[in-house]
Symmetry: C2
């Protein structure tokens, strides 16, 4: 029965019942964390042999000594590996340190101080960015840090609202868009071919407009049914827009989040502009770690096999969460959620005005979720509705407990709202 169809008495009785379940949870003194998209320890164990690099002495001296300074653009082995994986030319790729976030931050910072073809953004009065919402809080944090104004564009089932984006880019102060195009954070939506094509055909009024294509989950499928995403670089090139996209990837959720390798793919012009800045910034990134990774992953097939092992660990967690949501919430008409085929999140929308209260109730009973609002620029969800569930880190048993508690809290928050 939908909550909205209940009588006041029925609601009061249900609330009493839920409160007693909630108090029982609270009494257990749990400490559960579903706040961030972190791999679990078992996933990290999959890459342990990366640390024991038997042949490194033979490998690092083949050409230039990878232990020493140099090789700004990264080692050939790693560039070749990702060229194969992505279907690009190795020269389209630059390899960095351990953090793709850092690569994006540095790129935006470069645009702020030196522009991306035009004036430095800091010297342009009013600079704006398009942000598909809900989205990734750390993207929004970069833009806020640099004082770039964020424009919300709603996500649809096939990607962001392209009609709205095509309107926005008529404004020359709109300088770019942040995208997580495959298994989006948090919705788990993959942009379909039409959306990617419309993005690649954009003719922004700002000629220094950039599509920041954070392809963080490009091989992070959960099962056999997998989404596929056209290459933004190749699509944009077809329309003479090759300088629009900056594609960013990393091995963070392939090997170790704390000790992986990030990379970037872009047009010749963009690669040159970025290398020019890099040549001032560093003498080169950690080439031994690049070599560890190239040797460990091997080739595109090796990566596929490795990602299957991740999926075997992750799929049961997603199934558990979706099962509990279905069982505990589907009949009441108080929440909707996605069923992603990959990525790290499940995005749930409560009744309007209930997200903050739900997260608060969870927290008070010992389960930490991503703060409500975090999936929107400035932390402001206009409907106070979206909650990002991150099921990857906790072991299955803890996850089950956390989800049971979560569903109680969703219902309690909804009842509070309806009975107010």
């Amino acid at each position: 029965m939908k909550f909205q169809d209940m009588t006041k008495t029925q609601m009061a009785e249900l609330k009493k019942n839920l409160l007693s379940q909630y108090q029982a949870f609270k009494a257990k003194g749990l400490k559960l964390d579903m706040s961030r998209g972190k791999p679990g320890a078992k996933q990290l164990d999959l890459s342990l042999s990366l640390l024991h690099f038997e042949n490194i002495e033979n490998d690092y001296m083949k050409g230039p000594d990878y232990r020493n300074y140099g090789l700004l653009e990264g080692i050939d082995e790693f560039r070749n590996l990702y060229a194969e994986i992505l279907g690009y030319d190795p020269s389209d790729i630059l390899v960095f340190g351990n953090s793709s976030l850092n690569v994006m931050y540095d790129y935006i910072s470069q645009c702020v101080t030196h522009g991306s073809g035009g004036e430095p953004w800091l010297l342009q009065k009013d600079v704006k960015f398009i942000c598909p919402v809900p989205g990734y809080d750390r993207h929004f944090a970069i833009l806020e840090h640099f004082g770039i104004k964020m424009l919300n564009v709603p996500m649809k089932n096939d990607g962001p609202d392209m009609d709205l984006i095509e309107e926005h880019v008529k404004d020359p102060s709109v300088k770019g868009i942040f995208c997580v195009p495959q298994y989006s954070n948090p919705d788990g939506i993959t942009y379909n071919a039409d959306v990617v094509e419309r993005l690649s055909r954009l003719k922004p009024a700002a000629d220094d407009f950039r599509i920041i294509w954070d392809n963080a989950y490009n091989v992070h499928h959960l099962g056999e049914e997998q989404d596929s995403l056209p290459s933004i670089l190749q699509e944009c090139s077809k329309h003479g827009n090759q300088d629009l996209p900056i594609e960013i990837l990393s091995t963070s959720k392939i090997t170790f989040p704390g000790a992986g390798v990030a990379l970037l793919a872009a047009s010749k012009n963009n690669i040159e502009a970025i290398k020019k800045r890099m040549s001032i910034q560093t003498i080169g990134h950690d080439k031994l770690n690049q070599l560890r990774h190239a040797n460990f992953i091997g080739d595109a097939r090796g990566l596929k096999e490795h990602m299957k092992k991740h999926a075997e660990i992750l799929a049961p967690k997603f199934e558990l969460v979706l099962g509990i949501l279905d069982e505990e919430l589907s009949e009441f008409g108080i929440a909707q959620w996605n069923e992603p085929r990959g990525g790290y999140f499940i995005s749930l929308n409560t009744m309007e005005g209930c997200a903050k209260r739900t997260v608060q109730l969870c927290k008070e009973a010992g389960a930490t979720l991503t703060p409500a609002g975090a999936t929107f620029p400035y932390g402001k969800d206009p409907k106070d509705s979206n909650i990002r569930l991150a099921p990857t880190f906790p072991p299955l048993e803890e996850l089950g407990k956390a989800m049971e508690l979560f569903c109680i809290c969703v219902k309690l928050a909804a009842l509070e709202k309806l009975m107010a």
Copy 2:
């Protein structure tokens, strides 16, 4: 006999003789590189066991899982190690990725976009930095990249000319100074206690003035006679100037230049401002590499022992270079050079107007030196006199050949000048 005391005939005869030696070198088709301060392969071999990290599985799980996201400020083991080495508190230290240059670039970039207490430097019309000369070309490149005007201050035997610095800081547009205070690049000079004290007592008109203290060679002695340097943090604190210095170090020339660990030490205020930026920029640096290094180095005594092994490899190279310079050049009054007790360079001054020509002559005969002028802002040595010799990378035999050729070129360039 000094060149200046020779007759034209004597000069002509000497030149003829030197040219025939030069042509003989040229005929050999050598490829020698003395351009950059890179450790040689034997030095890198000293740290090979770093790559075989037997206990890493036991170590990384003691507390937080170092394979995963997090720990923005670096792991305790590494902060504690450097706290012991430097005599600081671990909380004074932030640990980064593999490049200290990147740490300095990022700090200046942060000042450009967000200021260091005042307005962003990009929005302040006229921003200047003091540059002791000769100095490190990559420092100058950072300042030039951000459009920060550089003011040359000559190095004396005990550090930069403090009278001039005390004058410059009266100008509120002068925002900082870049220093390599121990075994300076390229002179190998260590700032003496009086210089450090005067720096720490500065009262700059700009209240967002910063001393970038690139302590790259803090433990890089060549023998038993070692320079020592007071702590800039401690000295500045004595005078209420604790927010002036940003001290930067790395293991680049301790372990692997391409895969080491960089760090920064600063006041509480500065650490907080930097951490605030870092929290937007990354989720954390490579903690497994920090752990490798902490385990490999062990403690202050372990570092000392390790650096002795570097010195055993490097000292003969410096002795060879200094011996050849002494034998080939000292009697002619056409060049002066330093005899450093540590660091990576020997700085030589030719007769005025002869540095570029000397480097060019070397290049044409197959020996690459650091470009003349590189040790000055904008690549402009006003006297065209300074040449940075980097003797660390080539094996001894090659180094000897390169230095013989170099001395021939110094003499030829001087004769060309005197006979013009």
